[in-house]
């Protein structure tokens, strides 16, 4: 079940309000994305913690509706 790009952005933005988000739909199928997310919330967190914050913002969709989302995170 594909998830539109704008909805992914909104979900992330809702729980990480200061996030700068860039998402690419890699295959134009609403199902394979790559996202780069920058937020001050990531400062001083490990990569695992940073990615967990993003996964949490997606409210269980990751690994279910959302099959493939590559994540790159950075503090700011």
């Amino acid at each position: 079940m594909p998830l539109p790009l704008e909805e992914i952005k909104k979900l992330i933005k809702d729980s990480i309000p200061d996030a700068s988000i860039e998402i690419k739909d890699l295959m134009g199928d609403n199902n394979h994305y790559a996202a780069t997310i920058k937020s001050s919330k990531f400062n001083n967190l490990t990569k695992i913690e940073q990615h967990k914050l993003v996964y949490k913002s997606l409210k269980g969709k990751m690994g279910n509706e959302l099959h493939a989302l590559s994540i790159t995170t950075e503090g700011k």
Binding site: K47, I48, H51, K52, Y55, G60, M62, G63, A68, S70, I71, T72
Partner: protein, 105 residues
Amino acid sequence: MEINEKIKNLINENDVCLFMKGTPDAPQCGFSMAVSNVLKHLNVNYKGIDVLKDENLRQEIKKYSDWPTIPQLYVKKEFIGGCDIIKEMFEKGELKKLLEEKKII
């Protein structure tokens, strides 16, 4: 055996443990293949565990690690990350360093 115990045993008994879709010789997903290739490239001797063979394991490892996706890499009982983190660490040379520090390579 309880599934949680099975996961613990796998992690305890294998210094480098990769929960993946498919096997190291025949990965069934691009992300699992990417991590497998990185480990092979670094000449790491690792145990690949195919979660597609066991639906229960596939679901429980996600809870165990509090991580929603496969693959998942453990080194000396420590969760290192999924595909994105492993690729990033590899590109920055951090993975090699970590494996050397943990006396894997």
